[in-house]
Symmetry: C2
Subunit: 348 residues, 2 copies
């Protein structure tokens, strides 16, 4: 492998988002029905009566998952869910997926069947059709590449770039649980390595483990939005941690925001586990990732519509860009939010 | 990694197509706009005025490509082309692609830029928009997963399953060149390994090298079909070798066929290289793969429309299923065609 170019730049110098910016900076769009390309949870293609939403994720063994503690069936389920979550984040309904896998010689037919059991379970639960894919050998480990395709009317699609001043910032569910589940699994893995006769102590931790191993996408929110007659003014799914996603919305919408620490929803199981690990639960919520909750903004006039919804939490509001993206801590301090990129990706 | 199941079956026991059959046998389709799922060159989703065609391919370093002799720019170009070829094989026009990559630490930003130069070159040449993707780390090597999305009117789409008795079987261009290009590259790699000061002797072999390293998809045929007013009765692209593709069409259409050895188009460069390698050129054409030509059938009444087309070769005709899939050799023997599966995939 050679390169014609003189300079060599390590990818870690740019980080994930830097690399994406670099390789997409000269992108050209030829077709007017490509309504949205790179830069949101999903791309949007206009087919006249309806729009197709397209999103894709690539999961690599040793990077995104560890088969020591991830059952293949759960992995298959999760691999689908993380893609569907991106479609829901556009206020759209996922309808189809393609699944490609690369598998090394350590996998048997029965392993692959287990993986697909999880994939089909997710297809059934979320009512999506598996319509294609590819199978390949790999030299090491397993890689799963899924593309999800959804549908929405053009006028219902929500983007990251359309939040406006005074909109209310909301999150669904609670944050940080998946990250604490991962910490627990990693701890037990290390104990097991040192003492293979030990049994993992995972009892009583069902909630955070389930959030890590078998997360769900917020299909229910699509139904709720219709029921309470809300169209978010912007939306994104929380896959890289709240901080990162807030910064995406603010940067793309050219606005700032103010959120409040005491409004960030953290489940008591998460807080308890964080306490055990001597981690600040807030850090798990802000930077932990893999929550697959939704972060969205609503017009302030819709505030009453969400106030009795137990799954929706208003955590702050959109402000002028000049304010930056700040969090008011419980002690009243104003703290600038920071996002993580590539390192976050490699955390597992 | 554990499995709940008692039995373990090595994947090689089933082969690629066997594995695909196994994991897709219980597939259920929920949405009536999923017109075609697994089992053709691309899936078909009906959006009313138009249909979307969706196809995906996963290319893995060490399996599908060798970076010792594959320039990254060529690899990027080819990775796009192999997907577009599947869309053309449905008689449709590719419009959008997503590109996901997993990259190990040996790759620099400049390497990735070279890869994307090739990707963008293909986008420009074939007028497709890059609309999304994913970037990930990998523990070893490079993997590229591309999904291509095309468009067609429902009535224009061609499937594998609709060939009928007496239809004429046609191929475009010529076959076996990409395979011979690969043999040449592999030979020079081995020589280089033994004697690193040797210079590869690739001169005069431009055609077969280009067919291997920078293949093109048959966009021109879509235009030609319109011009000469033909809709193939069935179609598939030739990625795994002519034998394998003929058998797909015959099996899916529930028919047999008879082709003639002397009608199979083989370029003189291919024949010459095959001679040098002591390989029967016919074997390269039947089983070599990666030609990205089109195999299609036309109604016999359209035969006159193709007879003056230099790029279209009638190689035989569709027959009753009972006849099997046979080739009449130059010496008049009737030979049953055989397809290769998984091994073929692993050939590189």
């Amino acid at each position: 492998m050679s390169t014609n170019k003189q300079k060599t730049t390590d990818i870690s110098e740019l980080g994930e988002f830097g690399l994406i910016n670099r390789i997409t900076k000269d992108i050209r769009i030829n077709h007017k029905n490509t309504l949205k390309g790179v830069g949101d949870d999903a791309a949007v293609i206009d087919y006249g009566n309806t729009c197709a939403l397209v999103t894709t994720d690539l999961l690599v063994e040793g990077i995104h998952f560890n088969l020591i503690y991830t059952p293949l069936k759960h992995l298959g389920y999760k691999a689908v869910v993380v893609n569907l979550s991106d479609v829901y984040a556009m206020n759209a309904t996922p309808k189809q997926i393609t699944v490609s896998i690369a598998i090394s010689a350590k996998f048997t037919v029965e392993h692959i069947e287990e993986l697909y059991e999880g994939i089909y379970l997710a297809c059934e639960h979320y009512k999506v059709d598996l319509i294609g894919g590819d199978t390949s050998s790999s030299l090491t480990g397993l890689a799963i590449s899924i593309t999800a395709i959804g549908e929405a009317k053009k006028e219902n699609i929500t983007y990251r770039s359309t939040a406006k001043k005074n909109d209310i910032l909301c999150v669904t569910g609670n944050l940080g649980a998946a990250y604490m589940g991962l910490q627990l699994l990693e701890r037990e893995k290390e104990i097991f390595k040192t003492n293979p006769t030990s049994r993992p102590s995972l009892e009583g931790y069902d909630y955070i483990l389930q959030r890590q191993l078998k997360p769900e996408a917020r299909k229910d929110m699509m139904e709720l939005f219709k029921e309470i007659n809300i169209k978010p003014t912007s939306m994104i799914d929380i896959s890289d941690g709240l901080s990162s996603e807030i910064m995406h919305i603010c940067k793309d919408s050219n606005v700032g925001c103010k959120i409040f620490q005491d409004k960030i929803p953290i489940d008591e199981n998460t807080a308890q586990m964080a306490d055990e690990f001597n981690i600040e639960p807030l850090i798990a919520a802000l930077n932990g990732g893999e929550d697959y909750e939704l972060l969205f903004t609503i017009d302030i006039k819709d505030l009453d519509k969400i106030k009795d919804q137990p799954m929706i939490h208003a955590i702050g509001h959109i402000a002028d860009k000049e304010l930056g993206t700040v969090m008011i801590s419980n002690s009243g301090q104003s703290i600038e939010l920071k996002a993580q990129g590539w390192n976050q990706m490699n955390k597992q």
